[in-house]
């Protein structure tokens, strides 16, 4: 291998004038974290609602949930981001489209909303599976006690379902973090994009990607450890995930 390793490159100033290459990577890391948290909030909120809709006794709600999930699951994330970023402003009334295009930080908002909606379909599927995994008797008993549908969900099904779907949701959150890297195609300078920029400026390909790899591994480890404790504290004793 005639590749010139230079691990000191991280402490050399980067050409964008904001500090060293290390600063560049770390600001990329921050963007990755902030974007994935924003996306995760959107994914959880909409995903939970759609997931519940798919288990409701109402036919239209079911159909809507089904269409929603199929719509967001059957297109690549990259294509969805392009739709939000390039196509949506053109389809809106002219003034709105112009406003969207001039929005500062447009890549960030697009990435957060696009990734969030993409992941919400997966969250919805997990939520539905969680609710459907409850014994049928619970819903029946709650109805027999005279609870209305909203009350059945609020007091009986959801409190247990939340605790059941939490472990699978951890891996969906990890996917969300990884998926934010797709947003480099619409110009979001997150961790992968920062490593790519560093590679282009400094020609130290493998140092840049090694650093990005290590940072992604660190994020993963932190999330896994935190979620391990959360999962342990909410696990239902005697259930599959409980100890």
């Amino acid at each position: 291998m005639n590749y010139h390793w230079n691990w000191h490159i991280f402490f050399e100033p980067s050409p964008n004038g904001t500090g060293t290459y290390l600063d560049m990577l770390l600001s990329g890391l921050m963007v990755t974290i902030v974007t994935s948290l924003a996306a995760w909030v959107i994914a959880l909120a909409t995903g939970a609602i759609v997931g519940v809709m798919r288990t409701l006794p109402s036919k239209p709600a079911n159909l809507f949930g089904f269409c929603y999930v199929e719509f967001f699951r059957n297109m690549p994330l990259l294509v969805q981001l392009f739709l939000w970023f390039f196509v949506l402003p053109e389809l809106l009334p002219h003034a709105w489209g112009l406003w969207l295009k001039q929005l500062p930080n447009a890549p960030f908002y697009t990435a957060a909303i696009g990734t969030g909606l993409f992941m919400s379909a997966r969250v919805a599927e997990q939520t539905r599976a969680g609710i459907n995994s409850l014994p049928r008797g619970q819903r029946m008993a709650a109805t027999a006690l005279g609870l209305r549908t909203a009350q059945v969900y609020r007091y009986v099904l959801l409190p247990i379902a939340v605790r059941i779907v939490l472990p699978p949701l951890t891996s969906e959150f990890l996917s969300t973090i990884k998926n934010t890297s797709v947003a480099l195609t619409i110009g979001l300078i997150e961790l992968t994009a920062a490593a790519r920029a560093m590679q282009e400026f400094s020609f130290q390909v493998f140092e840049a990607f090694t650093a990005a790899t290590v940072l992604y591994l660190l994020i993963n480890i932190v999330v896994v450890i935190v979620m391990h404790f959360v999962e342990r504290s909410v696990a239902i004793p005697g259930y599959i995930s409980g100890k």
Binding site: P76, V79, Q80, V87, L174, N179, S181, L184, V205
Partner: protein
């Protein structure tokens, strides 16, 4: 809004989109699926083997691949493969590797980690009595795997494997970051050349949606059929 929607740009570029673009996408999906399942099955077998160190290595591989974004892995291999080629062939310079070969290697190795987890679940779903009975009959480890365990594991896991292949099909669109002409890359090139982003991206989205929907519908039917047999 859609008043000046130009259907003609789609019609004019259909040949390019499907013969150049979709052929690349489907070839990559097909070959990476086959390669990924073979390599993934081997990793799953390593993971479940009793040989010292092998399960640890397999687990490390799977965990590493699964904690990195595919985009980063694509970049890694794009830059690393020429050096690996140089090392393998003993050439004096990094070897030039084609876009297709590079992305095929990337997707095979990356998706293998996901296929490995599926195959591991499949192998573990076979009751322990079966390999025990097989070795009592005098079959070797490889014979047991080949004739007893793996055929059943594949059959049980077929719907999940196919679902993962649909994910892989969608993931291949990410070769866009290397400016490769896959289906989305072709659509994007036409879009930028003719200034017809709306038409081309909507059409690309529609094509991906139709193919993935039909495929996942097929997987659901298959799952229903297999579920009865089991």
């Amino acid at each position: 809004m859609l008043a000046n929607f130009d259907f003609d740009v789609i019609r004019r570029s259909l040949g390019y989109l499907f013969f150049d673009g979709m052929t690349f996408t489907l070839m990559l999906t097909g070959l990476a699926t086959v390669g990924g399942i073979i390599w993934g099955t081997l990793i799953a077998m390593m993971r479940l083997s009793g040989v010292w160190g092998l399960p640890r290595i397999a687990q490390l591989y799977v965990d590493l691949m699964r904690s990195l974004p595919l985009v980063l892995v694509i970049f890694w291999f794009y830059f690393l493969v020429p050096y690996i080629g140089q090392w393998l062939t003993g050439a004096s310079r990094p070897v030039r590797v084609g876009a297709f070969e590079s992305s095929l290697l990337t997707f095979t190795l990356f998706e293998a980690a996901y296929y490995a987890e599926i195959m591991r679940a499949g192998i573990q779903s076979i009751s322990r009595g079966q390999p025990a009975a097989a070795s009592a009959l005098g079959l070797t480890y490889w014979q047991t795997m080949r004739y007893v365990v793996l055929p059943q594991a594949f059959r049980n896991m077929l719907p999940v494997l196919l679902t993962q292949t649909i994910v892989l099909f969608q993931d291949t669109s990410l070769v866009y970051v290397l400016s490769i002409t896959d289906f989305l890359g072709a659509a994007s090139k036409v879009a930028q050349r003719d200034g017809r982003l709306v038409e081309m991206y909507l059409f690309a989205a529609l094509v991906y949606f139709v193919i993935s929907s039909i495929a996942s519908f097929g997987v659901r039917r298959l799952q229903a059929r297999i579920a009865i047999v089991r």
